[in-house]
Amino acid sequence: MGEIIDGFIGAIQLIVTLDPEVMDIALRSIQVSTAATLIAALIAIPLGALIYFYDFPGKRGVINLVQTLYALPTVIVGLVVYLLISHSGPLGFLDLLYTTKAMTIAQVILVSPLIIGFTISALTGLDRDMKNTVLGLNAPAYRAMLTLVREAKFAILSAVVLAFGRAIAEVGAVMMVGGNIRHFTRTLTTAISLNTSMGEFSVSIALGIILLGIALIVNLGVNVLQYRGMRVKDD
């Protein structure tokens, strides 16, 4: 019990004094996960809109597959990306292994299904006549999709914020492809894992508090967006 209390006190000190190493780790986590979420959003939102917009054979199967990938194990993503970018892998020549770029790629793969799936759900949640109205106005397909995505923006933004939450909280994939190298690829989750195994509870707890703080902000963001979305619908 004493260890935990000491850990908490030490953690508060690290945060209040803006300990350079803790801040470095926190910033890297935020940078990698923000980049991954933005890249995933750029790919996944149009992809989700395309799947929603067009009818094609096997559409239901594709949606089921995307939804199944929500629960994609992070270590599997880590393993796949590792095999691809390791020196003997097909993308080995890019020298990405143990870099923040590799971590970003892994997180993009991890959160893209979430954004695709939630984009489809958000668009499906719109009134069916909204799509028909846009088509009836003879909108080109890409303009029709843009209009509909704009109508579902709050629900889609919620999905993006949730995806960021999943990205920043994951440990398996970034550990495997980033290597948890101090000052280079160490993130909040990998650092917590390492420091806990070394008995450095103060640092672990400090990083944990920061991670929880980020999760709280993410959650607040989702709530605000969903509230605004509901208000728009009620109007």
Binding site: V134, G136, L137, N138, A139, R150, E151
Partner: protein, 345 residues
């Protein structure tokens, strides 16, 4: 005919094994308002969705503006059409931007979009709403804005799917006026789905009755309401007295009653008479019968009279003989033109 704007031939739609629109052929000429009436689920909306290309037919063809309406020509033809739905669709933007939406898809310069949208709003007497969020409009205002969003694109052919079904009577009247004005000023051809028969009579040049996925009759409002082609149409447009009769040599007989009929009618026919067209008297000059039931319904008295066949009558309360009661002997008569002889089903 060169004047034909829209033409279908054996247009059919099925979902799986269920045919929801049976082979349907009809045409609409320029400047015409065609009302499609029928009960819920009869296939009205399916027909309109096929005509607008929102769904593909299972069989049959559609020609619009003289061209086959197929995937390759859809964009081009659609640029001359518009569709309005029962449910008001407003986008999360200002009223003026809602109206300009269709113009923005047509790559019309932004300033021109605004000008035309403002002009349309002014015509609706809603200029002061321009910058308001469209989501703050009432149901009637919203539907007028939705309609204006289509009109501003200057369609030559309009599809309206129950456009006033969710509106209160005053708001519905505003939308009806917009429909008539658009038709009168721009000669826009309009196909309107409605379950409101009075609205169909008010707006339409011709009316199509669709029952169980088939258009069973197309004609002027007078033809539909006074000369229904079949018993089903008659029942749908409010005929309460429908009998199966046998026609031969210029007369039709049913249940012991013999009436004159067109000489070309032969075999089994439907004999149809509106309840309000039957005259009831106490004298014996007409078909004798006995009052079986009698009840007041608002401003009318409704009764069943047994003349061998049971007739349903609706008499304005003020014209009703209050001395009449159940069991009284009476006689029924009607104007010759009140009797409609239709096909048997």
């Amino acid at each position: 005919m060169t004047n034909t704007v829209l033409e279908t031939e054996n247009l059919t739609k099925a979902y799986g094994n269920k045919e929801v629109l049976h082979p349907t052929s009809f045409s609409v000429v320029k400047g015409e308002i065609l009302a499609v009436i029928g009960p819920s689920g009869a296939g009205k909306s399916t027909l309109l969705r096929l005509l607008d290309g929102l769904e593909s037919p299972t069989a049959g063809t559609i020609r619009i503006f003289g061209e086959p309406f197929v995937r390759a020509s859809r964009k081009k033809i659609r640029s001359r059409m518009g569709i309005l739905f029962q449910k008001t669709v407003l986008f999360d933007r200002s009223v003026v931007d809602n109206i300009a939406l269709g113009l923005s898809y047509r790559r019309i310069p932004r300033a021109e979009q605004k000008r035309r949208a403002q002009e349309t709003l002014a015509k609706l007497g809603m200029s002061e709403y321009a910058t308001r969020s469209a989501r703050t409009l009432s149901g009637g205002e919203g539907q007028r804005v939705s309609f204006a969003r289509i009109l501003v694109t200057r369609p030559e052919l309009l599809f309206l799917d129950e456009p006033t079904a969710n509106l209160d009577p005053l708001a519905a009247k505003d939308v009806e006026e917009m429909i008539l004005q658009e038709n009168a000023e721009n000669g826009t051809t309009i196909i309107i789905n409605t379950h409101d028969q009075i609205q169909a009579q008010r707006l339409a040049d011709r009316v199509a009755v669709i029952l169980d996925g088939s258009i069973v009759q197309i004609g002027t409002p007078d033809e539909i309401w006074y000369h229904p082609a079949t018993a089903s149409v008659a029942r749908f447009v409010g005929f309460q007295n429908i009998f199966i009769g046998s026609a031969n040599d210029g007369s039709v007989s049913f249940g012991g009653i013999v009436l004159p009929a067109p000489a070309d009618r032969k075999g089994l026919v439907s004999v149809m008479i509106r309840a309000e067209d039957i005259i009831l008297t106490k004298n014996t000059s007409g078909i004798p019968g006995i009052i079986r039931s009698l009840s007041r319904r608002g401003a009318f008295v409704e009764m069943y009279v047994d003349c061998g066949q049971e007739f349903f009558l609706r008499i304005p309360f003020k014209e009703h003989d209050s001395s009449l009661s159940v069991g009284d002997s009476v006689s029924l008569s009607w104007d010759e033109q009140a009797v409609v002889i239709g096909g048997n089903e």
